[in-house]
């Protein structure tokens, strides 16, 4: 079958999709977007987390056909997504999330491989690097998408809020301490910027 949907603001068309394929498979193997990871392919680890019409989902549990006509944000588009959210007033009030309309109205700019333009990181991406929250990095894309979505909803999370929001994302390297540090750091920087 053919599936038409939008990924990181760009219309995409995937052909010859077998009905049993997951959104994760289509992203990784058909669209050249392997940033979403395949740690368990059974919805337990969160490494494949993407946003589907703004809502974080395990893309391994979404059948490709279910995304027809819908909007997907992956880790590859996270920096642009965060930037455009900030430019459009972001979520200073702390309780708005991303409306379906907003999710449908932005487009990733992509990185210019010559100039590096558009290659800035989102605050949460930069915080993960700075805090030492990345070791092997396999859990990182899913955690970033989940953490970014939480900070969008809740710019001033308590530690218990962070743990609750990220409890669906397994990490085997860090013991989570530096991930907590990274999310706190991203929240603090976000607060300073407002």
């Amino acid at each position: 079958m053919r599936v038409n949907f939008t990924v990181n603001g760009r219309p995409q068309e995937a052909d010859d999709v077998w009905e049993g394929e997951s959104l994760l498979y289509v992203l990784r193997e058909r669209l050249g977007l392997p940033g979403s990871k395949n740690a368990c392919e059974q919805g337990e680890c969160g490494s494949c987390t993407v946003r589907l019409d703004g809502v974080p989902v395990c893309s391994c549990l979404v059948a490709a056909g279910q995304v027809e006509g819908r909007e997907v944000v992956t880790v590859e588009g996270l920096a642009d997504f965060a930037k455009q959210r900030a430019e459009h007033g972001g979520c200073a009030s702390g309780a708005c999330g991303t409306s379906l309309q907003d999710a449908q109205q932005w487009a990733a700019r992509g990185t210019d491989s010559q100039t590096g333009e558009g290659g800035e990181l989102s605050p949460v991406q930069q915080a993960f690097i700075d805090a030492g929250a990345v070791q092997c990095g396999f859990c990182t894309p899913g955690l970033l998408v989940a953490a970014d979505e939480m900070l969008e909803r809740n710019p001033n999370p308590t530690d218990a809020d962070i743990r609750e929001a990220l409890s669906g994302n397994l990490c085997r390297c860090t013991g989570y301490e530096t991930i907590m540090d990274a999310v706190r750091l991203a929240a603090a920087r976000q607060g300073e910027a407002v």
Partner: protein, 806 residues
Amino acid sequence: MPTNGAPTKITQGSQTKGGIGESTLRPDGTLKVTGEFAYSSDMWHEDMLWGQILRSTVAHAEIVSIDTSEALALPGVYAVMTYDDLPTDVKNYGLEIQDTPVLAHGKVRHHGEPVAIVAADHPETARRAAAKIKVEYRELPVITDEASATAPDAILVHEGRDDLPQSQLRSTGGTPISGHVPHPNIVHRQPIIRGDVASAAERADFVVKGEYTFGMQDQAFLGPESGLAVPDEDGGVQLYVATQWLHSDLRQIAPVLGLPERKVRMTLSGVGGAFGGREDLSMQIHACLLALRTGKPVKIVYNRFESFFGHVHRHPAKLSYEHGATKDGKLTHVKCRIVLDGGAYASASPAVVGNAASLGVGPYVVDDVEVEALALYTNNPPCGAMRGFGAVQACFAYEAQMDKLAKEVGIDPVEFRQLNAMEQGTVMPTGQPVDSPAPVAELLRRVKAMPLPPERQWESSEGADVRQLPGGLSNTTHGEGVVRGVGYAVGIKNVGFSEGFDDYSTARVRMEVVGGEPVATVHTAMAEVGQGGVTVHAQIARTELGVTQVTIHPADTQVGSAGSTSASRQTYVTGGAVKNSCELVREKVLEIGRRKFGSYHPAWATAELLLEGGKVVTDGGEVLADLVDVLEGEAVEVEAEWRHRPTEAFDLRTGQGFGHVQYSFAAHRAVVEVDTELGLVKVIELACAQDVGKALNPLSVVGQIQGGTTQGLGVAVMEEIVVDPKTAKVRNPSFTDYLIPTILDTPTIPVDVLELADDHAPYGLRGVGEAPTLSSTPAVLAAIRNATGLELNRTPVRPEHLTGTA
């Protein structure tokens, strides 16, 4: 800070920014947060096929027949291969003993053993084709424990075993293992005898005995086994794969393919964690076989279910201990017997036995010791390397014993440990003196001195915050039935490959001018598995060569071996190799400088010269030349091997020998809260103090300690591969049923890092990665015992062990 004299050549004195001791950031960090970092499962090639492995559905059986015809007839299938299709006479592989069939030959010895492989144009087609292969099994009785393995009429797991070791055998210094074991179903046995236990036991005022059980733990690295094999025009193959040791893989792969090693071109892909589980081969040979058979690139990616069958696990163990002490609290003797279940194939079992035996008494002074450690061949899943490697199981048991004995003697458990703690100069049960700092008592003091987390943290003005309680949002208690406990433990781990193994690494370092700037390039075959070796290599090059720009070349087999990313050894050994090659490069750079500019300044001949800030300077700080001018038109390159001091094999009867390169120590304090009615445990805090010799990158060091601590927590309260004792089949091969700690299960982990230099090691550093995995588990168990008063002789602890319903 107390140190045992400054280590030689701490640095060349360079203060270059981004050098050792700074928490510089990972060079691969940006790629990893943008999703662009290419892991082995992300590989893609035009026209590639997908490989799939058919695995045995039973644990022990003769293969009566295999029918591949229906699979081959499926559209989209390009190849189906079984044992009969293997191209050469080399049909087995293995780390130390080549006992593992590439594809099963007439018999399967464990659940999930590879029987056939398929290549097809879609992964689902490959899976369906594999399911159409008809294998007829005649089941055999299963060997599952010591009793069934060594029974008089026991079936031999490996008949006609001869264990001719390869030259790189790491455990027995070249002695065939099968020659000295008491039974062919015992992979390896290592006794350690020191002093006279019988007469020492007579001096004991108190004796405690205990029987302990350690469950089977999985490494559970998140990046699944995967890779891409691409056939080359010259008949060779390129292999992009996630592994811990490229050259060890190469040595095992090439003979099976019938290719010289130079025609198997291996490149390390992004590795999503390892923890020992990638020491053995997984899909490497299968992907190469299918690529060479079909002439097309072949990608294999395990899913999580298959990953549980696709790599070895931590050995489950049964441990029996007897400890004695005088009434003033001095240990008199230790007797122990450690039985490790190695499963169907040897993997790293011999070396794990050596570790369990030689470290089986722990970081204590005991003159009279009798240890016996052995690993079995059974039909359980194969077990091998996992972080902590034999020392983990022993630490769980001897620390439980230390608590028991402290209670008998009537001394506080931390004081009792300190009273018996080893220190520099203590002689190990192997007769090897500990010849660098061993701050066991100090680590315990530090971890005990940390402030305790406040009691009843769940209480708030709005009632109980259930997220802070055992059971969490399941809302199973508001504090009723909840008791707190505190427990301590300390452990000892060896660093580097031991027992006479030629444990070296190779580094190629190049220095040249690029874009008007001096640049160093570091090329090693070190597997970066997440630990941050690439960060540290760049720091070492900056410190030694005084440059800012360092390029880390991708790891491949075009440079000499780096040894394994195992045994806490890479910063020590490949870090040592990078330092050594940098020093050689520096000498050559200074030679060029003397040749070009020596006549302009007498200091070129007379002063101690350093490379600093992109310049050649004297130790007095006078600038003699810009590196750009020295290197203009000339590149300097050195590739050199580097070795740590040699070790020797343990005597096969007495276990005596200078077996280990270095020891590393960590101590933990665990604070837990237990819902005694439901048997639910919440670990509130898990504090660690560790001596790291020298923290080359403090941020990475703390990350290693926290990560290792959490894996220890996992096997204390949740992680266990459950194998059915009747069928030897794995019952929980998924993240639904094999639980690893989530962010909700993991407490805060305060870390106190001690830096007491080891004079034998580069920069005085001490391997970091494994020690925190040892003491974490027994500290949590001690805290649960402290909270509940229960004996708890097995790990992981499950709710039924706490509620008395087991």
